[in-house]
Symmetry: C2
Subunit: 581 residues, 2 copies
């Protein structure tokens, strides 16, 4: 890498970050400032490193309509760090009225004669801060109108996209910057399949350009058409900066088919307590000279530590079984020790890192399959209230092992299991729905599953016509859920809140505020009679409020009752309410 | 005025405007762009006249939390008109860290080395766009952080205010600019009375300064302590720019006691259909040279015309009486003619004014006292749907004359009449409540009023102890209201909406959106049993939601039922919901 030994007038220095989620949990007494502190760190880092520009991969804001504090802080930080006298060292060769055709000031901010910009910020929008309303404006557009951000990659069309790169030149290096703001994955997938996505290229000297593309979509396969396969992207690209995925996989990985590299910086704040968010968070300092590049990982120091561990109770046969006297106490002691272990590790790691917040995020996933019982987590949490940033939801009980054993390969209509798997794998609701109905359509006989009663329902499922069978299945599931709720004592608003909180935390990209969660739980409580009509009307309302079309999922009719009734499915609601679709 | 014959290097040129209410009715198909067009006109006017700065008297935004469109438009317009190369010709002598002590960038925007400002905007906040939340931020602060507005006159203290002027100098002219953002009138009144408002003055050459003060409060007396008497203001002032009041009374009026002038520019968009809003709207071009001033009125061309006329049916005895056959038809014909008259006048006036919107606002107030009946306004409106901007509420029926005759001078406990008078005089709910209870406290015998039943109630009112008497009075009023509602057929949601709409329109400064109005009407409908408890719990909720303390009205206990029950009182709810307290 000798060509990058010294920064010179031919080398672009680009700070790369994504999914800042400014404003995430901003009302939380402990974590409220996390996202703000990290944006500050990112901008300071850009300034210290004298980068040519900052490239953001979407979701700068956590909320589609950021709070006043959030907007005010963002504007203030950008004005503090990105304005100043250091001259910008690159020029723009492309037609800016095309590059920025959805903004009121269709030129790059540093060329505006009324603004003194030292570090231009280029950003696409994410699914959290996506454009809404008849004007198609997003939060980023307020910063764009203020001259603080260059919002690009915003396509107005919903069925055909032409991406015109911003053509940048610094010394002898030519950089073509492509961007595509977030679009529902299924829709974009269709567009790619139908050849409706075109990436334009400069007419002359095509081989001289370094081609950089920023995208904000599902990268991992969340369903058959609910992600963007890397091979959909043009092979002339050199590097893809992939936003939306929160796990930091910033070291460029080579796609051997398309012969380009992909860097996935990941979010700069953990918005869920899933394993992906526990990966150490970084931003990148990308250097481009000619067609060569180098990506330097820069660890973020202000990010709150997050430790996650899995415990499978059945693995501790030597210490206890479900029959052991006082097994609950022993399980709790084990968990206590595990949490302490993580806390000590966190403390060691934090030594000499004054910018790291004191209280870490801790998650212990306890697989209690095999007859164990869950202990009282609120009493457990109480012990860590002064040492952990998320005392209320440290322990997460699940029954993964049992499911894995029971899942049949051929068809799976036990959606409660499906969902648990889905939650673990990060699947999305539309996939679940699709899978459920695909399974139903096959009408094949299923082997008897473990629980009593299921056999009968499934038998009818294949004997009768589909519609009735589903109804039967639903009725069965309703009864089961009702028993399940009663057995777990999930009858108070608080309990339901806790349940929702769990599923919310276990799910990436759930965007809702406390109020909305509370609203959902209130709705659930009202459904004490488990009436199908009631359930469906609430769901229809939620769908239409969010402009969701069933057709988007390839469905014409949907009965949401089973999804609604199963507490395991409740994490769906925040998703439906979210504006990511 | 020869000293102003030519603008010179010693003359400040200041564009004065207030109550722009950007975003007012922005979703209305006809009037949605009105407030935007007029802000554009105002800023263009400032640029054309090459003013030194713009001074805004508050309520730049109609909503405390303006929509994205609203913020985006405002930022875009300000950036378009207020940035540029024309150098700013005055300097600032005061300590700006004191003048702008509530902002993140405590210096005037045109001195920021990263911004190229040609027209600085100075603004206080109004009651509509006042600071909220723990950070005490208002919408103006987003523009201030963006460097587009200089937000001043924001005091953090709630019981003591010290106003430090921004000291400006242009050539030999010295201008001390004082500002005070909106504060609840009662509170500010108390502070003045308790000598807790101090206006600081420069230590040296005090007599050389022209002292200009901007305030956003009630100017007309809305209640004993619910306004700011001009004589509260220091007599060293030269000119007061009074915001909040929507009637354009821009020609400076002299306060003979304090020997200063007051200019009341008025709103630049009509936010109600009251007579004050019908006055032709202007902004001002203020010139200050030494201690002399000149205020040039500039008519606004983009403002939608508004014509209002009163018709007293009893005055048309020669044409009809309540007994005349087909009197309703004749009344309707009369009203039709009146509206046509106004429309023709509007058309004549609009000739040669291409910037004036085509459809005027029209209001016909019909006093149908004396036994006349109201006709169907929706059918009437239908006739003007293509020619009037407010077809749904052209006609407003009222019974003013009858009230005036009946009102007794001594004590008035018929709050339905009180309110009608109040609505006409622009009184506020706290005054009404106070008057009602003051009346109750006097316990004097009242003369028998016209309506049957009232006599008995009032008799008991004085015979029994106060608490019971009030209860009696309420019960009586409830029954009366119920009859009243039934008689008028006010039983559907639509009817109630119409009622509320009427009262809303008749009241200045009601700020609520359709949704909130609808919420109130829904609440009213739920009160089908007219239960006192129900009424009171709703009112208490409304109060606590708005952080209103009964003590603020000098009351310890309050039964809101009568207020709530009388449709004439419903305009109160939007007021209570408004954040002006």
């Amino acid at each position: 890498m000798c060509i990058f030994s010294a920064d010179d007038e031919d080398t672009f220095k680009i700070l790369i970050a994504t999914d800042v989620h400014l404003g995430y949990l901003e009302k939380d007494a402990i974590r409220g400032s996390d996202s703000y502190n990290t944006l500050d760190e990112i901008l300071k880092c850009a300034k210290t490193n004298q980068v040519d520009f900052i490239l953001l991969g979407g979701d700068l804001f956590h909320e589609n309509k950021p709070s006043r504090r959030c907007l005010h802080s963002c504007i203030t930080m950008m004005r503090n760090y990105c304005m100043g006298d250091s001259p910008v060292q690159f020029s723009i060769l492309s037609d800016q009225t095309v590059n920025f055709n959805t903004t009121q000031f269709p030129w790059v901010n540093y060329q505006d004669e009324n603004l003194n910009i030292s570090i231009p910020v280029f950003s696409i929008h994410g699914n959290h801060d996506d454009p809404t309303g008849s004007e198609g404006l997003c939060a980023l557009d307020l910063l764009s109108a203020s001259g603080l951000v260059n919002h690009f990659g915003h396509s107005h069309s919903v069925d055909k996209i032409e991406i015109s790169p911003i053509l940048l030149q610094k010394g002898s290096t030519k950089l073509a910057l492509y961007g595509l703001g977030s679009i529902p994955d299924e829709r974009l997938y269709r567009m790619f399949v139908n050849n409706q996505v075109t990436m334009l290229r400069p007419k002359e000297d095509q081989d001289d350009w370094f081609n950089l593309f920023t995208i904000h979509q599902n990268r991992s396969k969340h369903g058959p058409t609910n992600y963007i396969p890397e091979q959909f992207l043009d092979d002339f690209l050199d590097l893809v900066v992939w936003g939306h995925e929160h796990e930091c996989l910033i070291a460029p990985s080579r796609n051997e088919r398309q012969l380009f590299y992909v860097t996935q910086p990941g979010s700069s704040v953990a918005t869920s307590l899933s394993p992906g968010e526990a990966t150490k968070k970084h931003i990148g300092l990308l250097r481009v000279k000619g067609r060569k590049m180098n990506l330097q990982k820069i660890p973020l120091k202000t990010v709150r530590q997050f430790f996650i561990q899995d415990v499978v109770l059945a693995d501790y046969e030597d210490r206890f079984t479900p029959e052991t006297p006082q097994v609950n106490k022993k399980v709790e002691d084990l968990c206590y020790a595990k949490v302490l272990e993580m806390l000590e590790e966190a403390e060691r790691e934090r030594l000499g890192c004054p910018m790291t917040p004191e209280k870490p995020l801790i998650r212990l996933r306890v697989d209690y399959s095999g007859g164990f019982e869950a202990f009282n987590t609120s009493r457990f949490s109480q012990k860590f209230v002064d040492r952990v940033a998320n005392p209320k939801d440290i322990v997460h009980f699940l029954r993964r092992r049992e499911q894995k054993e029971d899942i049949k390969d051929e068809v799976n209509v036990d959606y409660s299991k499906l969902v648990k798997t889905a939650a673990a794998e990060g699947l999305r609701v539309e996939d679940l729905v699709k899978q459920y109905f695909e399974a139903a359509e096959q009408k094949v006989q299923l082997s008897l599953l473990t629980e009593q009663g299921m056999g009968k329902a499934i038998q009818e499922f294949v004997d009768k016509d589909e519609k009735d069978a589903i109804e039967e299945l639903i009725t069965y599931q309703l009864e089961k859920t009702q028993r399940h709720l009663q057995a777990r004592g999930v009858i108070t608003e608080q309990d339901i809140d806790t349940e929702i909180q769990r599923f919310r935390e276990s799910k990436k990209n759930t965007t809702e505020e406390e109020d909305e969660i509370r609203e959902v739980s209130a709705a659930i409580i009202k459904l004490s009679d488990y009436s199908n009509d009631h359930v469906n009307s609430i769901m229809s309302c939620a769908l239409s409020n969010n402009n969701i079309q069933l057709e988007d999922f390839g469905l014409t009719h949907l009965d949401f009752s089973p999804i609604f009734q199963d507490p395991c499915m409740w994490f769906i609601f925040p998703l439906f309410s979210a504006s990511y679709l």
